[in-house]
């Protein structure tokens, strides 16, 4: 069987890419192994753990539950694009560092992407709202407490910095 192949053009972190891929190639595999943007991690490949979360046109999406071809023409954001070009961590990354919001760090990229979208939607969340938004991302190391604190601190810092 010769798998059918498709032309694909998309933009990741502002960089345009064009590739020919098999119809069945998962978006997570495409990002990691074709584009070599390996910061997006794969934890379960059945849409539960949230480690592979990226933003597609600004919305958080599990890249293991999508085929690459479905992202044709889309604007994607991944962990590699979160810090400033200067190398400075963004406020959420910085807060995760300050609050020890990561241990092994494997689930961290997915959490950062989920929370980036969440804080855009809800710039002044309560702890309960943060926990609800975070509940689609599994972390086995931290017990979540420090992640919650980091997100709340990042929200406060972002609000303080807003014009």
């Amino acid at each position: 069987m010769q798998p059918d192949r498709h032309e694909l053009a998309l933009c990741v972190n502002g960089t345009p890419y064009q590739r020919t891929v098999e119809a069945r190639m998962l978006l997570s595999d495409f990002l990691r192994h074709e584009l070599r943007l390996a910061g997006t991690h794969v934890g379960c490949e059945h849409g539960v753990c949230g480690a592979c979360t990226i933003l597609i046109d600004g919305a958080p999406v599990r890249s293991c539950l999508m085929f690459a071809v479905q992202a044709n023409g889309c604007e994607l954001s991944t962990i590699e694009g979160l810090a400033a070009a200067s190398g400075d961590l963004d406020p959420l990354q910085q807060a995760m560092h300050e609050h020890h919001g990561l241990q092994c760090g494997y689930c961290t990229p997915g959490i950062l992407m989920t929370m980036t979208a969440f804080l855009k939607e809800n710039p002044a969340p309560t702890e309960d709202e943060v926990r609800e938004a975070l509940s689609g991302n599994l972390c086995r190391c931290t017990g979540y407490q420090n992640i919650v604190d980091a997100v709340l601190a990042a929200a406060a810092n972002l609000r303080a910095a807003a014009p």
């Binding site: 943007l37 092994c104 086995r140 017990g143 919650v148």
Partner: protein, 781 residues
């Protein structure tokens, strides 16, 4: 030594890479010509293999090779036995270690039968469907008690029974203790522990360089040095021809110490045969059956007490589910047996266990490693005794604590490290006092609980104590080297899976050498950077490797002092280390940079004195005589919905003593994570096998891990009783958070639902809402 960093909540050096997606994890290893392996795993738990036909596989485009056990030829061999049985008199241990691919007999569902190697993972997985397997089904051994009855099937036919091990250990005379007891209580306890489920599954990449005759293995292992040694032996290579690299590893929690997993054993062999690099990444469904796990024990335990609630003795007979093979020896059941003694004076203890072979995945240590089981039994026995004797449950614990002047305290049994179980140090009452105060014990019992109950709310409290043997030997080592640019590099043989070693070890070095933490670069888990060591397990990384780092730093400090005192022609006592420089006390302008000293220690010309070692570096080792004993108390207030039995934790307190703390931020993180896993264990996580050994909940949609909505905010406090067994006074903290949570939940749920009034006892874990419902319904009949 000035302690600017040691003991401070220093932010982690490793965070930046992890936060920006730049850390190298196993599946990020990409190599030219990389092939991908997929494993055909048995769908059934017990069968004879009549034949496995892989001929169709090779016809599929993109497939490069396929292998069965027969193809491995002389390379096929069981083992290794990671931990031999401890020197306990009368011990029975029937060694049956795991195999790389099943040959003749399948002993658990998920056991690998064949390997396909292809140009892509997609093709390799497709091709598994082309393999034809002919099996003769056998009845599966699943139930621990049935496994020991006559007429059952045998997991290992040649053994003639399903006994993996039988161990009896005792101190004092239990029969005499029971004879003079005011009260004896006997119950049956069942404790299940689940799967570690790190968010990164396992993976292996093997690369053979035929010209250099050198093997490189990237591996998600917690013990790279041992993987190298075993693998070199198996492949017929010298250790120097094999490099094992454990890159950033996405959580370990125990099962990543197990070796050689079939994938670790076979991928290097395939890479050599094909002379191409090969990668295998476990998927989540595989993880449920291909990675080792913990499971259940059944305890028949009895406690004897005097009228004041003082323990006279404990007797316990238990069955331990070992799974299909026993490569990890007896670590898990020995931990259960020893940890049951807890922080209490138990003059007579008589414990016997039988470790049982079943047609289920292999059991090896997972965070806590059997300690949970033991703690659950003793804590529940004390709860029952407190109720029967009408003694407050905190008070009965306090009365039985080992007094602070009784350390070192000899518990006589042989522990998992083969040394007699001796508690090095401890002071338990202040820990209990702090926990009671933090949870508001008296106020809750006297005022809050009656008030809330009057409103119809089901609120309850739990309080549980534990000790944990940590930081066992044999040893670890470290090499500390000052580079010419003044930065310090450190290498150690252990692996790291999120414990913050890149920071805590750097703190030790930074204080000894007067440099900044960010100027210390730590390498862990690369056997070419550090040759010797054992690994990261048993809450030992900071204790054993941390002290090795300290010893090596001290030796480098001495060298630097000698060089600088020669240069300045002054006494070593007049020198201080700060800001990357050695300077003369009170004369800040008179200094020499550490980097310059390192260069001076490597002269290009001239003669050196006999015995001079070049460079500003040292390699030192540390091995403790036995483990350091940490302890703690957890307390919790819960509210339960009386209709749905949904449980909400209203308050959670941990007070612990892990000796001297290097980095309180990191230790607190370890406790948080441990408690979260404990909550999963106590509440949700049960591997449900049917009577044919099929795992019924092998996905994260069915086997529920706690989310941010399930893990409560925790209040932490600690006391410090340094360990006398190592110069830094450290005790381990990695597993502590997870250990007493089951006991805590059972007690709190009983209290919240006032089950004692109905004479209903919760003697098992996990206690999901549906299980609590069932137990109450059964109890009310």
């Amino acid at each position: 030594m000035t302690t600017r960093f040691f003991g401070a909540p220093v932010k982690r050096n490793e965070d930046r890479k992890l936060l920006t997606g730049q850390a190298l994890f196993i599946d990020d290893v990409e190599l030219p010509g990389l092939l991908h392996a997929a494993f055909l795993r048995s769908q059934v738990a017990h069968a004879k293999i009549r034949g496995i036909d892989v001929s169709e596989v090779l016809k599929r485009p993109g497939v490069v090779a396929a292998y069965t056990a027969e193809d491995l030829g002389g390379y096929w061999r069981p083992g290794p036995l990671l931990v031999s049985p401890p020197p306990i008199p009368g011990i029975v241990f029937n060694e049956r270690t795991h195999v790389p691919l099943a040959k003749e007999v399948i002993r658990c569902a998920g056991e690998p039968l064949a390997i396909v190697v292809a140009e892509s993972r997609y093709i390799a997985e497709d091709a598994l469907d082309d393999i034809v397997v002919d099996l003769e089904m056998l009845p599966a051994v699943v139930d621990l008690e049935k496994a020991l009855k006559t007429g059952t099937a045998y997991v290992h036919d040649d053994l003639g029974n399903n006994v993996a091990a039988h161990v009896h250990q005792a101190k004092g005379d239990y029969a005499k203790a029971a004879a003079k007891a005011h009260l004896t209580l006997k119950r049956r306890f069942r404790y299940e522990h689940g799967i570690s489920s790190p968010i990164e599954t396992r993976g292996v990449v093997a690369q053979w360089d035929a010209r250099a005759e050198h093997m490189t293995l990237w591996d998600t292992t917690q013990a790279p040095v041992f993987v190298r040694n075993v693998l070199a032996g198996a492949l017929g290579l010298g250790e120097g021809q094999v490099r094992v690299i454990a890159p950033f590893v996405g959580g370990g929690f125990g099962p990543k110490i197990m070796m050689l997993y079939p994938e670790e054993a076979t991928l290097p062999w395939i890479a050599m045969r094909l002379n191409r690099p090969v990668k295998w990444i476990e998927d989540r469904f595989e993880h449920f059956v291909a990675t080792t796990q913990e499971r259940g024990q059944i305890h028949d335990a009895e406690i004897a007490l005097d009228k004041d609630g003082r323990i006279l003795g404990v007797r316990d007979v238990f069955l331990h589910d070992n799974g299909a093979y026993n490569p990890y020896g007896l670590t898990v059941p020995i931990n259960s047996q020893c940890t049951m003694l807890g922080p209490y004076v138990i003059p007579a203890y008589d414990s016997t266990f039988t470790s049982v072979f079943t047609n289920l995945p292999i059991v090896t240590p997972y965070r806590g490693a059997g300690r949970q089981h033991g703690v659950f039994v003793i804590e529940r026995l004390l709860d029952l005794a407190a109720h029967a004797l009408d003694i407050d449950r905190a008070e009965i614990r306090r009365r039985n604590f080992i007094p602070k002047d009784a350390f070192p305290y000899q518990n006589e049994l042989i522990y998992q490290d083969f040394a007699p179980l001796q508690y090095d140090s401890g002071n338990y009452e202040p820990v209990l006092d702090k926990a009671l105060k933090a949870i508001g014990y008296d106020n809750f019992i006297r005022e809050e609980q009656p008030k809330l109950r009057a409103q119809g709310r089901c609120v309850g409290m739990g309080i549980a104590c534990y000790v944990e043997g940590t930081g066992i030997g044999p040893y670890e080592g470290a090499k500390v080297q000052v580079r010419a640019n003044g930065k310090v590099s450190v290498a150690t043989g252990i692996g790291t899976q999120g414990q913050g070693h890149f920071t805590s070890f750097a703190q030790i070095v930074a204080d000894q050498l007067g440099v900044d933490v960010t100027d210390v670069d730590i390498v862990t888990g690369d056997t070419d950077r550090f040759y010797w060591g054992a690994g990261t397990f048993a809450s030992r990384g900071a204790v054993v490797a941390g002290n090795a780092v300290n010893e090596a730093s001290l030796a480098v400090r001495k060298k630097a002092l000698k060089l600088a005192s020669d240069a300045f022609e002054c006494s070593e006592d007049d020198l201080v280390f700060a800001d990357g420089k050695v300077s003369i006390v009170g004369v800040p302008g008179k200094f020499i940079r550490l980097g310059d000293l390192a260069q001076r220690a490597n002269p290009m010309r001239g003669a050196v004195k006999p015995g001079t070692e070049p460079g500003l570096e040292s390699t030192q080792y540390f091995g403790p005589p036995s483990g350091a004993t940490a302890n703690g108390v957890h307390a919790m207030i819960v509210e339960i919905d009386p209709e749905t039995f949904d449980l909400k934790v209203l308050k959670y307190v941990v007070v612990h003593d892990c000796g001297t703390v290097i980095n309180p931020m990191i230790v607190e993180g370890q406790i948080h994570g441990g408690v979260a896993q404990g909550i999963g264990n106590a509440f949700y996580e049960k591997l449900s096998f049917d009577d044919q050994g099929q795992l019924l909940n092998a996905s994260l949609a069915d086997y529920l891990l706690p989310t941010a909505l399930d893990v409560p905010r925790m209040e932490l406090d600690h006391t410090v009783t340094p360990s006398p067994l190592n110069p830094l006074g450290i005790k381990g903290a990695g597993e502590a958070g997870a250990i007493p949570v089951g006991a805590l939940f059972a007690q709190a749920i009983e209290d919240a639902l006032e089950l004692k009034r109905k004479s209903i006892e919760l003697l098992e874990i996990p206690l999901s809402p549906s299980r609590v419902f069932e137990l109450i319904r059964e109890g009310e009949r």
